[in-house]
């Protein structure tokens, strides 16, 4: 076990800013990419539906 307490875990031996800054940005990028991908998909499906409605008229 590396850590004696949660406090020690978050402090990362004084490197907290750098370690969490690196891991945090990575998490942000992954969440952002998945969010954009989902938005793209919803928009594509919406357009497909609109086209179908127009065709039916």
């Amino acid at each position: 076990m590396n850590w004696e307490s949660w406090q020690a875990f978050w402090a990362m031996g004084g490197y907290g800013l750098y370690v969490w800054g690196a891991f945090g940005m990575t998490l942000l990028c992954i969440v952002g990419e998945i969010g954009l991908l989902r938005r793209h998909r919803i928009q594509s499906l919406k357009r497909l539906r609109r086209m179908q409605i127009l065709d039916a008229q």
């Binding site: 590396n2 031996g13 750098y18 690196a22 991908l37 998909r41 497909l48």
Partner: protein
């Protein structure tokens, strides 16, 4: 096995749809295990203390940034040679994820460089060539977004992809060709890795997680791109009926 069968958008679309959740679940499990090793199993480094733990994302992200570019160039070459639509779609689907990993490699590198070198950024060969890789990814995406005709956009982007692939060996060998501040590789096929076993395992599990994530995201993006392109076809209309 008839590969042409799977190269048809209408067969690829549902197949990719079945694969995406599996890769996503694998990515999630591997990330959880990888993070556990990174923070709770891997020991404190005797030189860099806890600061070295950035390695567990920095190295996998940097590997992926180069690897995705090569795969993208491969699909571009196939597309240009045989004019296969799906190859271009795959190349396009990989670009944003590759750019994301390149950015992550640069960012985590900066957050590692600051405490260890005393600088967020230096213009050494490794860092500069990795920055050029980011510009290549962004350049390919911008070029393709700027051309209205998708077929012309595909070919133009693919050409830029192929020209840019020369940068990948430059990044890889930069630490041996030039005198860089960036350290040489810690992991090599030619010799035993110069790090603790658990550190190495943490890195490999995280790299595998990055692979699974890339597969899931790129296949999902390819599906949406295909749907956009095939929106006038019968089978694309049928997708809605299944959904509704």
């Amino acid at each position: 096995m008839n590969w042409y069968h799977y190269a048809s958008p209408s067969t690829f679309y549902p197949l990719a749809g079945k694969l995406v959740p599996w890769f996503a679940v694998l990515a999630f499990i591997l990330t959880t295990v990888g993070l556990y090793i990174s923070f709770f199993v891997a020991p404190t480094d005797f030189q860099q203390g806890e600061g070295y733990r950035i390695i567990f994302i920095h190295v996998p992200a940097a590997w992926m940034s180069m690897f995705i570019y090569v795969v993208m160039a491969f699909w571009s070459a196939i597309g240009l040679a045989w004019n296969t639509r799906l190859s271009f779609v795959m190349a396009r689907a990989l670009a944003p994820t590759g750019a994301m990993f390149t950015f992550v490699a640069l960012w985590t590198g900066a957050f590692w460089g600051k405490p260890m070198w005393g600088a967020w950024w230096v213009w050494d060969a490794r860092l500069t060539s990795e920055l050029i890789l980011l510009f290549l990814y962004v350049g390919v995406m911008a070029l393709q977004a700027a051309i209205d005709d998708p077929r012309r956009a595909d070919r133009a982007g693919a050409l830029l992809n192929l020209v840019g692939v020369i940068n990948v060996p430059i990044i890889y060998f930069s630490v041996t060709w030039w005198n860089t501040l960036h350290q040489g590789s810690s992991v090599s096929l030619a010799r035993a890795p110069s790090m603790a076993q658990t550190m190495l395992w943490g890195m490999l599990v995280m790299a595998l997680a990055a692979w699974m994530y890339t597969l899931a995201v790129a296949l999902a993006r390819a599906r949406t791109l295909i749907l956009d392109r095939e929106r006038r076809t019968e089978w694309a209309r049928a997708v809605l009926e299944v959904k509704a």
